[in-house]
């Protein structure tokens, strides 16, 4: 591998890692703060991608906007969806055994897949990137790099910084961190923990839906797209340390690199490398790279 190819591969792994982080951060948030294992997280990503496809015509008709208007409308809908789901299903899962959580959220996957099939069919769809980002930059002598992929990476970095800021510098971030450490204590201080959890859950869902919408132009929209993402996200969360946003970022970048270079250098083992990495890290640090709290 010459230097130019190596640098391009580094760029590829960075972009893949950042997108993984975007999806996994919501999962680790809900996992770390409420102790809920949410298998339906991949479905939120799938819902986001289908929103990017299905919302475009009505949004264009109502607001006259393009892709960015769809992003805004979709995010608002996602917050509402998250809020309602928390009230209807997830609020019953706090403090229960993980097995019960897994059973119910697995049921939700099936419900979401079936609803998707009924409402939008089983066909594959493409989503156009907005014209302002449709160009590409020359890269090496043969390749070009789509501007839209740079946009995805930029959005991920901005969101990561935003989350970091909220958690460390704001009052609500402080409450959330305190709530995850000691629920009873926070409640006895007169903070409405129920409402706080609902907000966190809605945010987690919104991030996953947003990731799905942003990824749609490069990944296209197809049945079952949520499931493959879910598995990798769990690996990210476990390597990074449950509930740690910082850990999730580091783990996602690590997996991006292992997956990208693995496919190229060790194609026979590409399917298992990520899991080997997970096993090695857990042997060395059973709680993952960073322990939350």
């Amino acid at each position: 591998m010459d230097l130019a190819t190596f640098l391009i591969q580094c760029l590829n792994s960075l972009q893949y890692g950042l997108l993984l982080f975007l999806v996994a951060s919501g999962l680790t948030l809900i996992f770390g703060i409420m102790g809920v294992i949410n298998l339906a997280h991949g479905s939120f990503y799938m819902i986001g991608a289908y929103m990017a496809h299905a919302l475009a015509p009505p949004v264009a008709a109502t607001f006259g906007g393009g892709f960015f208007a769809v992003l805004a409308v979709g995010t608002v809908l996602a917050v509402v969806l998250g809020y309602v789901l928390e009230w209807a299903f997830f609020s019953f899962l706090y403090g229960r055994e993980h097995l019960q959580q897994v059973l119910m959220t697995y049921g939700l996957i099936l419900v979401f897949e079936e609803l998707r099939s009924l409402l939008l069919g089983d066909d594959v769809h493409g989503v156009q990137a907005p014209p302002s980002l449709a160009g590409s930059l020359p890269l090496g002598e043969l390749m070009t790099y789509p501007v839209y992929r740079l946009f995805i990476s930029g959005v991920c970095v901005a969101l990561a910084l935003g989350m970091y800021f909220v958690f460390t510098r704001t009052r609500i971030g402080m409450m959330i961190r305190a709530g995850s450490a000691n629920r009873e204590m926070v409640q006895s201080l007169g903070i409405d923990i129920q409402f706080l959890y609902r907000v966190v859950f809605a945010a987690g869902v919104a991030i996953a839906v947003f990731a799905g919408m942003v990824a749609a132009p490069v990944s296209s929209v197809y049945p079952g797209m949520g499931n493959s993402v879910l598995i990798v996200c769990f690996v990210v969360v476990v390597i990074g340390g449950i509930g740690s946003i910082r850990g999730a970022l580091l783990a996602a970048l690590l997996i991006g690199a292992v997956d990208t270079f693995g496919k190229v250098l060790l194609p026979q083992a590409a399917g298992v490398l990520v899991y080997v990495l997970m096993a090695l890290i857990l042997l060395w640090k059973p709680d993952g790279l960073f322990k939350a709290g």
């Binding site: 020359p138 043969l142 493959s228 590409a270």
Partner: protein, 390 residues
């Protein structure tokens, strides 16, 4: 009183046996094992629609017999395949099995069909082994083997397009491996050289790393086998990486079938090979497309054609046995000797029971795969490892 009850029961029993006997001679039980949920759901529906269309065209009957359908959703899950097949064979006692789309599930069906001697017609799955090492007198296929369109593409890339070097890229699973191998065989038989064989785990769609490798290898051509969502993403990523204008991309028809709307401009001008196209000249195809659109308010595709031909083939076998499905040898002989007027063109079975068929060369123009010629006329799968008819 007791006498009456006994007489009544006897009469009832006699009545049921008489009607059961009548059923056995004027009915045939067909077990449809197809994907009705999941990624391949639309393919399963198209196959069943095609099968039923043939019945509708013939007064709702198959060689004069009333068809009783038994349906199972195979969920494209190889792990459940043997159980699902046994449901149809042992519980419902079907005369014929028809299925399926996923190669892994079809292999399990073929295994059960071999063990129980049930007649099996495969309307899609392309696994070479089904009409290779696993071939049997009671197993037929009305679709293709993975080798067929791939080998044809290899010939086209070397002879007609004058390419010297190529890279293959696919998912690492049976169908992908077989397709890449078939292309390599055709391409290298005409002096080309496959310089790199890239693959990624099924159903992973992170192609960027491998596209960078393709750019570094600088081949004359790329051959890709993907289907469904993976096909859409690969074709789009290939164009997005700027490779489309510099290194032509080829593949079997699955790369651009049912995906063009989603692929948009990224697929324009691509050449693919398949045993069907959207605009074939023969009258049979025109009539088929018209009838199908009328019956289902949908445009037919290659899967509908394969389902239609499964029904045609079975009808030919039944007719040869004077409508008695129990005369297995006569049914099989009838199917072996059938010359079907398929929408795709003339169709005959090879010794291994796989279609001998024209493989068309198609070009993507707008949102259609326009047929621009025949890549290979009457191509038969080599059926390596099959002992039938030798």
């Amino acid at each position: 009183m007791t006498f009456f009850r006994l007489a009544f029961a006897a009469a009832l029993a006699a009545g049921t046996t008489a009607s059961a006997f009548a059923q056995a001679t004027d009915r045939i039980k067909v077990g449809l094992m197809l994907p009705y949920t999941g990624t391949y759901a639309s393919l399963g529906t198209a196959i069943e629609n095609g099968f039923r269309l043939y019945l509708d065209e013939n007064g709702g009957k198959l060689a004069g017999k009333t068809v009783e359908f038994f349906k199972v959703d195979d969920e494209s899950d190889p792990a459940k395949a043997v159980d699902n097949t046994n449901k149809l064979v042992k519980r419902d006692n079907v005369d014929v099995l028809v299925g399926t789309v996923h190669s892994g599930v079809a292999m399990a069906m073929a295994k059960v069909a071999r063990e129980t001697q049930t007649l099996l017609i495969v309307p899609n799955a392309g696994a070479d082994a089904i009409t290779g090492p696993m071939c049997a007198p009671n197993i037929f296929r009305t679709s293709f083997s993975n080798w067929q369109p791939a080998y044809a593409m290899g010939l086209v890339a070397a002879e007609q397009q004058k390419h010297k070097t190529a890279v293959t890229i696919t998912w690492k699973y049976a169908a992908g491996d077989e397709s890449a191998k078939g292309f390599k065989e055709g391409f290298e038989s005409k002096g080309g050289k496959v310089v790199k064989e890239l693959s990624l785990p099924f159903p992973n769609v992170e192609f960027q790393a491998l596209l960078t490798e393709i750019a570094a290898a600088k081949p004359d051509a790329v051959y890709a086998f993907f289907a469904g969502g993976g096909a859409v993403k690969f074709v789009k990523d290939y164009a997005g990486a700027g490779l489309k204008s510099k290194i032509p991309l080829y593949g079997p028809g699955f790369l651009t079938d049912g995906t063009l709307e989603a692929q948009g401009d990224a697929a324009s001008g691509m050449l693919t090979t398949l045993h069907y196209g959207d605009d074939l000249a023969q009258p049979k195809d025109k009539q088929f497309r018209l009838n199908y659109a009328k019956a289902y308010k949908l445009q037919p595709d290659v899967y509908a054609v394969q389902g239609y031909d499964a029904a045609q083939l079975l009808a030919a076998g039944l007719a040869a046995a004077q409508g008695d499905i129990k005369k297995r040898d006569a049914v099989v002989r009838g199917m072996e000797q059938a010359r079907l007027d398929s929408p795709r063109g003339a169709l005959a079975m090879s010794k291994a029971h796989n279609p001998v068929q024209d493989v068309y060369l198609r070009k993507v123009e707008g949102h259609a795969n326009k047929t621009i010629g025949v890549a290979v006329k009457q191509l038969a799968d080599p059926a390596r490892g099959c002992k039938l008819g030798t």
